[in-house]
Amino acid sequence: MLNIEKISKNFQGVKAVDNCSIKIEKGKITALIGPNGSGKTTIINLISGVIKPDYGKIIFENNNLSGLSIEKIANLGISRLFQQSRLFDNLSIKDNLLIAVNNNSSLIDNILGLNKIAKEIDAKIKTVYDMMEIKESWDKLVSELSYGQKRLVEIAQTILLPHKLLLLDEPVAGVTSLLRKRIAKILLELKQKGETILFIEHDMSFTLDIADDIIVMDAGKIIARGKPENVIKDKKVLEAYLG
């Protein structure tokens, strides 16, 4: 589904990502782990189009993502969660979710009220909202939510955006263990429905619980990949983490 070929990115002389190649298979949950600064978020930024690679290319379902804008890549079916909270603070939960689903920007339609939220879309939002078990009323402004609730709303957005691949950057960083379990459960449910997920995490128990494959990065390079039980035994991985 996603084929990253020999991708490299330099930042002012530092090789953030150094000649990495990754294949993501459909229907699997893949974890991307590694010490801080190893290049994980850069990889995600490269895939989602936030930054452009210096070398190499990324192919997603026969589309070459090089040079495409962020929104084009999103519309091709790549839905991305940011590490830092990026919600629309002055809008309600409902509006935040609506934005993920609706894509009619025709002025006339919107003025004349023709862009009504179809019943199916409304139901879809409600389903995801219930699935996330978000505690707050969905008219509440997102800026008033706690960190954990915000994260749930964001993950809901990511799921609601029509997609073929989910890119999650540290989905459970800083959330309570209860929420962590719930999010793990939700991701496994999504996999059951045939979804493909690539996530970054530092939380090893969360990662080991749900990942089918693990890719380990260090200093911009991929140092190991494979099934979880093999990767945690890999010497290079232990070295990278323990120094």
Binding site: A74, I99, N102, N103, Q157
Partner: protein, 290 residues
């Protein structure tokens, strides 16, 4: 006497309401620090003046004013698309200076500092709007329509995306939104209504000259938008009434007219400073400036 003067103030309030709520669309809702608004006001006014003086009918003049202003708004949005906050502010400010310079210097078109006098009041659907009471009805009618159009945009999903762009453009793009296009729509629509306001202004005052379109004329509009509260339409209407009525007592204190002009600007500017300090969210706003 008071009656006629009161009608005059109400007409001005209508024109400024249109200017302010249209600025809300680009500034308050989409988060674009759009300081070019007076330029679109000018474009609408001059377009109407020139067409009306050539005898074209009312509906054509006012529509063309809006469309021409919208076109300029769209054109301006293209090079400024990637600019942030204060850079965008200065680029748009610059645009308004360029338009002012053109209005002042392209004498064969605009008659320069002498201005364009004798703009005929419109006659439409059999009604003659030379009568100020009639003109007031027209103004109210236009204002209410515009208010509802802008209101329905802001309540629609498109309006929500505009607000999303204001709050976090990168996140909006990551959700597949073509923010460049939507920002252009916002600027163009905002400019369209400013152009209509300019048209009404030209028809009402029947004489326009560059002094109404210099940069300082942005200050009252900006004050209204900030005092009323960013992204609050009712707050904007409320603030317009206050701003227009505020300097009126000056007339009665008997200052010479050469002082009243700058004194009004002074009051507006000081008010803006005070609001920026004490209540940057304005009275009804929920959003902070950037």
């Amino acid at each position: 006497m008071i009656d006629a003067y009161f009608i005059h103030l109400l007409i001005l309030i209508c024109i400024y309401v249109i200017l302010a709520i249209s600025l809300q669309l680009s500034l308050g809702f989409t988060g674009l620090l759009n300081l070019a608004h007076v330029a679109f006001f000018a474009i609408g006014a001059y377009a109407t003046a020139l067409l009306a003086l050539s005898g074209y009918p009312f509906w054509l003049c006012i529509l063309f004013a809006g469309v021409l202003a919208a076109l300029f708004g769209y054109v301006l949005s293209i090079p400024t698309n990637k600019l942030k906050g204060d850079y965008l502010a200065l680029a748009t400010l610059g645009f308004s200076f360029v338009i002012y310079a053109i209005v002042l210097n392209w004498i064969s078109l605009t008659n320069g500092p002498m201005g364009l006098p004798g703009i005929p009041r419109p006659t439409f659907l059999g009604i003659n709007f030379s009568n100020n009471n009639n003109f007031f009805m027209l103004s109210i009618f236009v204002t209410v329509i515009i208010y509802f159009v802008i209101y329905s945009i802001t309540k629609s999903p498109l309006g929500k995306v505009m607000e999303a762009i204001r709050d976090d453009e990168l996140a909006a793009r990551s959700l597949g939104k073509n923010t460049k296009k939507i920002k252009s729509i916002s600027m163009a629509t905002s400019a369209f209504f400013a152009g209509i306001a300019g048209s009404l202004f030209a028809y009402y005052i029947t004489f326009i000259d560059p002094t109404s379109f210099s940069f300082s004329n942005l200050i009252p509009i900006l004050s209204i938008v900030i005092i009323g509260g960013l992204a609050s339409l009712p707050g904007t209407v409320f603030a317009t009434i206050i701003i227009i009525l505020l300097p009126e007592p000056l007339r009665f204190i008997g200052f010479p007219s050469s002082v009243i002009g700058p004194a009004r600007q002074l009051i507006y500017a000081m008010l803006l400073l005070i609001i920026l300090y004490y209540k940057p969210k304005g009275f009804y706003g929920k959003v902070n400036l950037e």
